[in-house]
């Protein structure tokens, strides 16, 4: 067994067990509390981040032909001033190619060991990553530590567990012996080899740079493929931190560091297409907009494509035990990360004649008001939950829906800047909530990126469910929620969502309903337009490698 695998064997075994039983487990604590980490690590992490500002970030990648990068902190409005290598893709790929044979010839165990060590070292820089994520993606500190940090590392380990499982299914050798007719007979010794497909390009998104970064890198790298990370131009630093660690670990383990590299760019001079279209690129992992994801799915034939994009996630409210608790759960989703998560709720379907909450009938307006009230409550301490907006275009989006509101329904809650004392120039927006009927379908069936949501008055609960599940099927959904005290309705709603190709959560309360648990929640079904790949199932890893064999008599 490889030394690195031996070092991390226990954690891999735990991940394998968690994946198979799907209970709650984490390898990486998601809280940045000094009770867990001590007092020095958080302080050092922040200092390390600050020391990087205004400097050149070096990766020593062959084919560097200049510097690039223009990240602006959504908290300060100031450029980070960090430059990254600007790459000549062909020169880089030539260098990658020469590193491939030794990696391909390494055992799966060795490669898994290297990946485990990469994840372990990334866990050692979660504070650096948190500040980097905050000042690029605009997440709150807590979220940046967890969502694109510890939780994403768990997804990476999970993908590694599946890669291990899929590769372990292929034996290394076999003896095979049989008669052919009266005279013929054969005794063969067979050898089976895992073969990579080629370069895996990982296109990371702006809001959660490493959510697919860790799992996609682990899945491709462990199965023998070199990986090129392509950060979003707005969020390069978190990806650079991973790239540096990966290259370091590869070098120390005796492999070519170019097996993991990064190609950064700016909005003005994008580099993504050159990577996607390169003939050596065999695998593409993409997180980002539905439009670009769909384009890749349709136009990159001959390459393995794994996408996670977004949909118009819904809630169907049929009834509940306790109105305030349910409203708080929904409001949490509208506030968290300013609804820039792939799991954020957008469409809240409530029947026109209201619902039963506990033992009382509550009108549609009362339910809507309770949700707005829930939002107001979270806004009393917004910095922890809402963070900032990753992008100026979200302000334009909000403006646009403000204009549409009176035409299509009414504004239940307007969006406004949120004030953060520490960051007076932060780009922020509180949730905007529109009340509409199903006549406004055309506006709420779009995936809206940012804090705009709809409370949709349905003619009946059946109509609510029908509309929500139709939209899941046709427009995509990553999460869907149902609130009901009626077991029969829950069964029906589960079946309706599942048959629409969507997963569903029932009566989630007292927890962040956006939360997707590694090792337990299959994230993205692949059956609706919100993406074609799942974190993590066997299908996510099994096609990243092929098998060649040799047999000798």
């Amino acid at each position: 067994m490889s030394a690195l695998l031996q070092k991390h064997r226990e954690i891999l075994d735990k991940a394998l067990d968690a994946c198979s039983k799907r209970y709650s487990w984490t390898a990486y604590p998601e809280s940045p509390s000094s009770k867990i980490w001590g007092r020095e690590k958080p302080v050092a992490g922040k200092a390390n981040f600050e020391a990087m500002l205004g400097t050149d970030y070096h990766l020593a990648q062959p084919g560097e032909v200049g510097r690039t990068g223009l990240e602006i902190s959504p908290y300060t409005g100031e450029p980070l001033g960090i430059s990254y290598p600007k790459m000549d893709v062909d020169l880089l790929y030539q260098a990658i190619e020469s590193g491939m044979p030794s990696w391909r010839n390494a055992t799966p165990q060795t490669r898994i060991g290297v990946c485990l060590e990469i994840l372990d070292r990334c866990a050692g820089q979660l504070f650096e990553n948190a500040h980097a994520t905050m000042h690029t993606s605009g997440q709150s500190y807590i979220m940046a530590f967890a969502g694109s940090g510890a939780n994403a590392l768990d997804r990476g380990l999970e993908a590694l567990a599946y890669a291990h499982k899929a590769m372990s299914d292929v034996p290394e050798t076999a003896k095979w012996e049989r008669q052919f007719g009266k005279s013929g007979s054969a005794r063969l010794h067979k050898t089976y080899r895992i073969m990579p497909r080629g370069v895996g390009v990982v296109v990371c998104c702006a809001t959660f740079p490493l959510w697919n970064g860790y799992p996609a890198m682990c899945a491709s790298l462990a199965t023998g493929n070199p990986v090129v990370l392509k950060p979003h131009p707005a969020a390069i630093l978190p990806v650079a931190l991973l790239t540096k660690v990966a290259r370091e670990v590869l070098r120390e383990a005796g492999f070519d560091p170019n097996l993991v590299s990064m190609v950064a760019d700016t909005r003005e001079e994008p580099a993504t297409m050159a990577l996607l279209e390169h003939p050596m690129t065999a695998i593409i992992d993409f997180t980002g907009s539905p439009a670009f994801g769909r384009w890749i799915e349709q136009n990159c034939s001959g390459k393995q494509v794994y996408t996670e994009t977004a949909g118009c996630n819904s809630v169907v409210v049929e009834s509940c035990q306790e109105l305030t608790a349910m409203a708080a759960a929904i409001a949490h989703s509208l506030c968290q990360a300013s609804a820039q998560m792939c799991t954020s709720v957008q469409n809240i379907h409530i029947p026109a004649d209201g619902i039963v909450a506990g033992t009382e009938h509550v009108s549609f307006d009362e339910v809507a008001a309770a949700i707005v009230q829930g939002v107001e409550k979270y806004l009393q301490n917004p910095q922890v939950l809402c963070g900032t907006l990753v992008d100026d275009t979200i302000l334009a989006t909000i403006e646009r829906y403000r204009g549409l509101a009176s035409q299509h329904g009414r504004l239940l809650r307007d969006s406004a800047p949120i004030h953060y004392p520490d960051f007076p120039r932060a780009r922020t927006a509180s949730p905007m909530i529109l009340e509409v009927t199903q006549t406004a379908r055309e506006i709420y069936r779009d995936e809206i990126f940012g804090p705009v949501s709809f409370i949709i008055k349905g003619e009946s609960i059946d109509e609510c469910l029908r509309d929500a599940t139709t939209n899941a099927r046709e427009c995509g959904a990553i999460t869907s929620h149902v609130y009901s005290t009626d077991e029969e309705f829950l069964d029906r709603a589960e079946a309706a969502y599942n048959n629409a190709g969507a997963s569903v959560a029932c009566n989630l309360l007292g927890m962040p309903i956006n939360f997707a648990a590694a090792y337990s929640d299959y994230h993205v079904t692949g059956l609706n337009p919100a993406g074609n790949a799942c974190l993590t199932d066997l299908a996510f890893v099994a096609s990243r490698f092929r098998i060649v064999q040799s047999k000798r008599m």
Copy 2:
């Protein structure tokens, strides 16, 4: 456990064990000998086949709008006179759709049980299938019983074992419990459901109608997808026999028989495109020509595509223990099924300065002559091995290469009709062998369907290996062979083929070298142009279904 799974549990468990250890095993005896089957079964099988001639084959499929089919026996030159349902694809798909929910909602165990029963009943009509295959694909009786019969059934069972493995990886339920911060906590009950993708279309080839028919059907059907079988217009009857059994078993098990259906056609009125392009078609399994296979790979984005086509399979001869035995092994491949197999050898690379055989030096010409001599020997009893030609176009191909021979090299052995006393009008051709040098690359780098092969004089053994592996990478290869007594050379050749994305067999003697063993040989690597899918690995099954979940607090 489902009753049908219980009935066949032992055979499934044996297949699972064989797949994981990859030793020699078969669930279906490949010999038609009456010592195994008794005297009645072979006779009854032949009689059943003959009773079908000149009749209407009924499948009771909704959407039948007429009759179609025009199969001509390559043995007799006469039409079989069997008509099959001509289908309105849209009407058929409507009927399929209504059968989907109950199949989707059945447990994986139930579906696996149904598939096992289908295979078992098909094993009961192997003699019917053998005669049907003979008089459509033109195979010899022995081959028709084994290759597209018993061996193909093994591939079906193998695919089923993998489908079982992949689905078993997904637990049915889980309990999940954790704290969120100080106040929040959650206890969730989670349910995971296997969801099919949609209709699986299986395009079968003319020469081995069920080689991919059984495995593709099993892989798609077991994972919840309805299957539409599309036979080649020249070889419908074997596929019809499977379709009828599958529909019967489904009906008896309480499911909609339309979950397996057949759309036959003629060359004049092809039906394939309507199936490939139908929006409900989500999965395509294709065996056939490289050109159509490539078209499907490139143009059916959004559908899961699994192809097996063909390449220009090679032999590299460096040295051998015993010339006659080696020559016989190679000659067997040139004769078997008139080289119409995807595993037939086409390009035989021999160094110009000859080889060492045993302790003696043997010239290039002597090696070539030994191979020709090997062919002559098999031709003493050709009917068992060579069979007939599936298609008139093969005669034209032979004619064409006869014309090219003098221009590019010389004819070492000309092709001629083979005489079968029982079938005086059989369409046959003995192997044509051309001697060429590497200057004739453009003619031997095509995949030639039928009994045309090349003995290629290489400047050196390294040049032979380089040429053969380059062609494997660029033009495709399903099997590759090396003969050498030098362990160092074998290691080098194995690495060269493997790195070219090709599997390789070394020094195979005394057995049919075309043979690919279910449960042991990974058939088709997917790394070269000869196909993108493998019989069978996890990748063949893992993406045929998706997972949806529901969680309740």
